[in-house]
């Protein structure tokens, strides 16, 4: 594999991890807001129990993506940085409100306006994926004008494009879908059966909605980014495989099991695989472009010597960190049963 292909694969990996963790994170915040009044089902509790320890780790991935991007593809960063000033700043503003108020609402649990804090963080949270995902259609070309020799994002065009809206719809629905699925699994494994029933139902509603949005994306892509559409169609078997995995997840949720209905763990695994396949096809077809049609992974690439040092640092760093991630996962994801009864320090 060439250096630049290796580099874009690393970035793609980070984006994939963030897409999954981030949608779960923002979605969980949203559910914890929706169910704030249903004290009996514990649905909000379960969402918060997942959110509290994970949001900070999830947030590091945004930084990791930006750092990987400008260190591997400085030229692409120049273009993206210039073009994305306004949407990027909106994301940053939303993110700071969301993270800030998420933390504040945890520490103000008996505060009479706590509800307002939860609403602010919940709503700003679902808006973030909507804006973040808009980067994808922008990178597919057609929205960047060159005025007086500098690149400008044509905002009017962005906000009137059906393609952008189908991405936005997809981002929101799949945030809600992935997070409800994960929370279903999480609540079942900690024996919160009322919460489980609620999240299982939500996943059954939002799942088909996400699939519908994904289909919309393909329809609008046909006319707005036909180069990408044509290339994606060359991967038809993988796309069908991805839809197949979606169906598997649906069946897993409907199947009977010993305790409650459905096997959420199986559904989570197959949905993550489904997203993996679909994003692989998307990413693979997007190559060699980072930003169509001007920036490719070749002409935007950093200095090869710099790349080699960076790559070694990546490998060493993740090797060192791996036990930390494992320990974290065991504490908060695996053995969460006994934790559910206890209060944080």
């Amino acid at each position: 594999m060439g250096d630049s292909l290796l580099a874009i694969t690393v970035i793609w990996g980070f984006i994939f991890i963030y897409a999954v963790m981030g949608t779960m994170d923002f979605g969980a915040g949203f559910w914890s807001m929706v169910y704030i009044n249903r004290t009996k089902t514990n649905a909000t509790d379960v969402a918060n129990r997942y959110l509290s320890p994970t949001w900070e780790v999830t947030n590091v991935f945004i930084v990791a993506i930006v750092v990987a991007l400008f260190s591997f593809f400085p030229r692409a960063t120049f273009t993206l940085g210039t073009v994305l000033l306004i949407p990027g700043s909106i994301i940053l503003l939303l993110l700071s409100i969301r993270s800030g108020f998420l933390v504040f609402s945890h520490y103000a649990s008996s505060f009479k306006y706590r509800r307002a804090l939860v609403y602010i963080s919940g709503i700003s949270g679902v808006l973030i994926p909507a804006f973040l995902i808009a980067v994808l259609p922008v990178s597919q070309g057609g929205f960047i004008d060159i005025i007086d020799g500098t690149q400008r994002l044509n905002l009017a065009k962005v906000f009137s494009s059906p393609h952008v809206y189908s991405f936005i719809g997809f981002a929101i629905s799949s945030s809600l879908f992935l997070s409800s699925l994960l929370l279903a699994d999480y609540s079942k494994s900690s024996d919160e059966m009322e919460a489980y029933a609620v999240y299982r139902r939500d996943a059954l509603i939002t799942g088909p909605l996400s699939l519908l949005m994904a289909i919309f994306i393909m329809i609008t892509m046909q006319s707005e980014a036909s180069w990408l559409y044509d290339k994606m169609m060359q991967f038809k078997p993988l796309l069908y495989g991805s839809v197949g995995l979606f169906v598997v997840a649906g069946i897993a949720l409907l199947l009977p099991s010993q305790k409650g209905k459905g096997m959420p763990r199986l559904a989570v695994v197959s949905i993550i695989l489904q997203y993996f396949l679909a994003s692989y096809v998307y990413g693979r077809s997007h190559l060699p472009y980072v930003v169509y049609p001007n920036v490719t992974i070749e002409n935007g690439f950093t200095h090869p010597d710099a790349f080699h040092s960076l790559f070694i640092v990546y490998i060493v760093g993740f090797a060192i960190l791996f036990p930390g991630f494992f320990y974290f996962w065991r504490l908060f994801m695996k053995d969460n049963k006994e934790y559910s009864k206890k209060k944080p320090y």
């Binding site: 210039t82 700043s89 504040f104 520490y107 690149q151 040092s309 640092v313 504490l331 209060k343 320090y345």
Partner: protein
């Protein structure tokens, strides 16, 4: 406002907010760690309670530290794409390694905060050590990028192209150790004094009617003063070394910091006052003859180049003199206050402090934070007009996108909301969970 000034204000605003929370994010974990260790050693439950309460405070502060830090990282690319293109090619390593530091901090802080009752006491201390290491490393690494801007290394520019890139040479640029060290020790200084500050304030309140609480806060105060005192002394020593580096590598910054116009040996050190460009001197200040030469080069014969020997458009703004003075004066006050406090209690064995001492202790925390702000604004503004010293001007690095004004005001608004909210939440939280209640629970 002009485009460049808006971009600079926007970035400076964000950094000015972030640095308060980031510095506390480096300093307070050290204090928590020490409290846990003291608890481990002495079995005095007060220290355990201190660790718990400070952790709550630190976790709330993180709600601003992390988003503003994320903004800093992304805004670098959004506002200074020209700068980040060079950084991406030459100086990406510290950012890269910093990601791991962030991960370590985030993972183990969450473990410490949310799983403290499920892990052993030893594991708690190990988690805290990892949090402290992660926080320190992230500060050191990001400061290294700042050091690189002042003393760039590891590449050459040939016909406008970047060549001979050596990322490790850039990483170990000449001011890396001094500058990062200064940031690290000044963060510990700040952590110590902020704790001392809060403890002193609470002691003033608890003085008459509540001896139990008074004793608790007294222990925290002494911890804060000792740690703050030690690190402020180290900060000053290391600051002296920073100054020598500035003399060596950014002479016009030194000249501006001291308001020195004419090149001379036996140059005087000016304290206070304002630099007057017309009269070419520092007005209303106190002069210490020969001291600048001595401090910069360890000899009175050291020749200091004055501003007049640099092209006018290389001059940094002259008000940096005030910022530099502010930092140094604060540093001296902090050392003095800590010293007096410790001597009074430990060596003169006095039971309580006079009220005026108490108010001086209360002032140390805010002063330390002001020292941090002065220092950074001095270092960054004193580098102007360069974003990378003598290689890239700030005006060449700035984004070409328009409409910065609106964004500037939006960010300002959001920061005001966040800072106000963080203050309210802290007050609210500690009012709802007063020390008296937790001490009573401990007694049961």
């Amino acid at each position: 406002m002009d485009h460049l000034v808006t971009a600079r204000s926007m970035f400076g605003l964000n950094m000015g907010v972030h640095i308060i929370f980031a510095t506390l994010g480096v300093g307070i974990p050290l204090m928590i760690l020490l409290a846990e260790i003291l608890y481990y050693k002495t079995k005095d439950k007060d220290y355990e309670l201190m660790a718990q309460r400070w952790t709550k405070g630190a976790a709330v502060l993180l709600g601003v530290a992390i988003p503003t830090g994320t903004i800093a990282g992304v805004q670098l690319a959004l506002l200074w794409p020209g700068f980040m293109e060079i950084v991406g090619k030459v100086m990406a390593l510290p950012f890269q390694i910093e990601i791991y530091a962030f991960f370590i901090e985030a993972l183990f802080l969450s473990i410490y905060v949310y799983a403290a009752d499920r892990i052993s006491r030893k594991m708690r201390i190990i988690s805290l050590i990892l949090v402290a290491i992660g926080a320190l490393a992230s500060a050191v690494l990001i400061t290294n990028v700042h050091a690189f801007e002042g003393t760039p290394a590891g590449f050459r520019i040939l016909n406008g192209e970047i060549v001979s890139v050596d990322p490790w040479a850039a990483f170990f640029n000449p001011s890396f150790f001094v500058t990062s060290g200064h940031v690290a020790v000044s963060a510990y200084t700040t952590g110590g004094f902020v704790i001392a500050s809060v403890a002193a304030f609470k002691m003033l309140r608890a003085r008459k009617h509540n001896p139990r609480e008074y004793k608790f806060h007294h222990k925290a105060l002494m911890m804060g003063l000792v740690i703050g005192g030690i690190f402020s002394f180290v900060t000053a020593l290391n600051g002296h070394e920073s100054m020598q580096k500035v003399y060596e590598y950014q002479p016009e910054k030194l000249a501006a910091a001291e308001g020195l116009f004419e090149t001379q040996d036996h140059a005087p050190l000016a304290l206070g006052g304002f630099t007057d460009e017309k009269e070419q001197r520092v007005k209303y200040g106190i002069e210490f003859p020969w001291m600048l030469s001595f401090l910069s080069g360890n000899s009175f014969n050291t020749v200091i180049t004055g501003l007049n020997d640099f092209p006018r458009d290389y001059w940094p703004p002259l008000f940096v003199h005030t910022l530099f003075n502010g930092m140094v004066i604060i540093g001296s006050i902090l050392i003095l206050v800590a010293l007096v406090g410790v001597v009074w209690y430990k060596f003169l064995k006095k039971k309580s402090f006079p009220k005026i001492f108490m108010w001086a202790f209360v002032a140390t925390g805010p002063l330390a934070i002001m020292g941090i702000e002065f220092g950074w604004i001095f270092a960054c503004t004193g580098r102007q007009p360069w974003v990378i010293y003598r290689i890239m001007r700030t005006s060449e690095a700035v984004t070409t996108s328009a409409n910065l004004h609106i964004l500037f005001f939006l960010f300002l608004l959001v920061y005001i909301v966040l800072v106000a909210a963080v203050a309210l939440v802290l007050v609210f939280y500690f009012r709802r969970n007063p020390l008296s209640k937790e001490l009573a629970a401990q007694a049961d």
